[in-house]
Amino acid sequence: MKLLSIIVKSLKEQWRSFWILLLTLSMGPFFIFVYYLIIESSKPHYDVVIINNDRGYIIGSESVNKGEEYILFFTGKVKDTVDMPFSIKKAYSKPDALKALKNKKNDALVIIPEDFSKQIIEHRNADSTGPVEIQFYGDLTSVNYLLSALWANETLNSYLKKATGSSDLIRISETGIGTSSSISDFDMIVPGILIVSIIMLMFTASIAFVSEVENKTIIRLKLSRVTSFEFISGITVVQLIVGIISILLTLITAAMLGFEFRGSATVFILIASLTSLSIIAFSLIIAALTKTANEVLVVGNFPLALFMFFTGAAFPFRSEGFFTLFGYPVSLQGLMSPTHAISALNKILIMQMKLRDIIPEIISLIILTIIYFLVGMILFRRNHMKLK
């Protein structure tokens, strides 16, 4: 009865603390979106500009333009190759094209000469007057230029062999991996950000605990003989709901941006629940050491930074363990529950492992949650609920 009353009251107060709730729930989706933009914008892309000065050649009554044919060949080659990050554009003014090149708007400029068609046809008829000169322009120190020039050169050679009817001496077979593999860079960062969305719970949970101290309503609770356990449990249930909503919103956002959920939903909820509980328990420690919401916002930033940047949540973080326990590495980062949560989610969502494969992570999460709760409860009772 008392527990239910505290849950209902805490739920109402949480809903009415709209801005802090919005902050907590929006952080996960926000980070997902930011990382998506970063990854999308940092994907390699090469822009090749071609100026076709070829005047063409008349064979009988038919006019041919080999420069145009090459451009079509290059464009077709790019389209036929899966995930080829090239774009072919045509330009008509050399000064404008060079200006765009200098401003890094394009990566390479290829200029096809006026007698391109004539030379190819004469070469085919074995009355060539000399090699045709194709001009390449670009920043020689730029990897983008080198790759663009390499591809332009390769396709040009292929086209010329085809156009002149030359035979291949060798044949190269190439199979792409990397961007063509099934797990993208975006997929790789999603588990960490899912845990970030739960780490943000630290603020709502700490404030929910400390607001009773700040408003002095803790006196009313003490007078009513509510136990510390009932009080803490009531708030914990509500914060657990907030945590689950937060991670689900983040997951939905990730899915909308292309993340493919591969693991078991039950195991996912289990990990999310345990992580939420551990963060709520840690929030209790913060609440025990502070007296106001403002203090929570200041003090809470230290563990927030540690949890975000040293557990692999915000970006991949590798650390060597001091030793291994039943094959599971034990490290300083292991004192922070998100470390285990991220490891578990990576195994489930990326490596498609099963529950039995994440038993060490689950046990670590449970142990840390119990330790955080015990420490938090002792400190909170001593600092805020004990008769002095």
């Binding site: 008392k2 009251k9 109402k12 006196i219 009313r220 009513s224 002095k388």
Partner: protein
């Protein structure tokens, strides 16, 4: 409550509380009887709130005992309704929500909480604020809500720390009448700096200072036994023959008399009973009375007489 009418509800014996070197409550003893309104008076820092916190079970005593006649000490918090000096409320809950919430915490069923809460809010003039968040109430309304929160579990003992603080005159009258009405069925302990409030409400008063109880008695007895007493100011017609001086000499055998121009200021306990004798003496001296003013000895006079004029915390 099994105690008989007038029987002590609780007895405090040699109660002490110290915070490191500071002795906040120093060996106090008193008892509070069933159905009485007991006023605890004292300047700031006298130890009133510390005493109350120990009675409520919010603060452990350093020494001494508080014996409750009708319940175990561990149960006492359920038998006491406490309205602290500072308004304490849940800012994001409406008036009715927090009343029901507190009732639930005391184990009262939700329906009963609601109906009792509605009654209390009506009695305290908050019916039209049932669905208003407590943070949006005026200071006086918050004070009244605080009193309602102390009463939701219908406790036999009600402790009110400065119940009229921050109230406008209308609210003060409402709260005073409400407290009076409660005294028929509850034992009430109240602290206040407002001597008039205590004089009007309290059956007995204890005056505290420096952590000690200086006196405990009814306001009537205190006013009639402590201090310089009532003040009688008599303006007489102009005297040219030295009759006034002779009169003053005669009156000084019995009273403290001061001359101020054509007025005589006489101070004594129970002056109301002595006015007739004094006016007769004036007439016998051949003087004519123009105006008489009598001001009763107040509880504030008693308080200042006992605690002095030195400023406190």
């Amino acid at each position: 409550m099994n105690s008989l009418p007038g029987e002590a509800v609780f007895t405090i014996t040699s109660l002490k509380k110290s915070f490191k070197d500071l002795i906040a409550v120093d060996n106090i003893s008193f008892e509070v009887h069933k159905g009485e309104i007991f006023g605890l008076l004292g300047p700031n820092g006298a130890g009133k709130t510390t005493t109350i916190n120990m009675i409520c079970g919010l603060l452990p005593a350093t020494g001494g005992t508080i014996e409750f006649q009708f319940c175990e000490k561990k149960e006492i918090r359920s038998f006491i309704g406490y309205c602290p000096q500072e308004n304490i409320y849940f800012p994001k809950l409406t008036c009715l929500e927090q009343i029901v919430f507190m009732g639930n915490l005391y184990g009262i069923p939700a329906n009963e909480c609601r109906s009792r809460g509605l009654d209390l809010l009506e009695m305290l003039g908050l019916t039209n604020k049932l669905k208003v968040y407590a943070r949006n109430l005026s200071g006086g309304m918050k004070r009244r809500l605080n009193i309602a929160l102390a009463l939701i579990h219908n406790p036999p003992i009600l402790i009110l720390d400065e119940p009229e603080a921050g109230l406008d005159p209308q609210s003060r009258v409402l709260v005073r009448n409400f407290i009076k009405s409660l005294s028929k069925e509850k034992t009430i302990i109240l602290t206040s700096h407002n001597m008039d409030e205590v004089d009007r409400l309290a059956d007995r008063v204890a005056i505290m200072d420096w952590g000690k109880i200086m006196l405990t008695d009814t306001p009537y007895n205190l006013k009639n036994s402590i201090g310089e007493g009532d003040v009688l100011e008599i303006e007489i017609t102009e005297d040219t023959g030295g009759k006034t001086d002779s009169l003053i000499s005669a009156l000084r055998h019995e009273y403290n008399v001061i001359r101020s121009g054509n007025s005589l200021i006489i101070k004594a306990v129970h002056l109301i009973d002595k006015i007739h004798g004094i006016t007769s003496s004036i007439k016998e001296a051949g003087l004519t009375i123009k105006e008489i003013k009598l001001r009763e000895n107040t509880l504030e006079d008693v308080f200042i007489h006992l605690t002095g004029r030195m400023l406190r915390q």
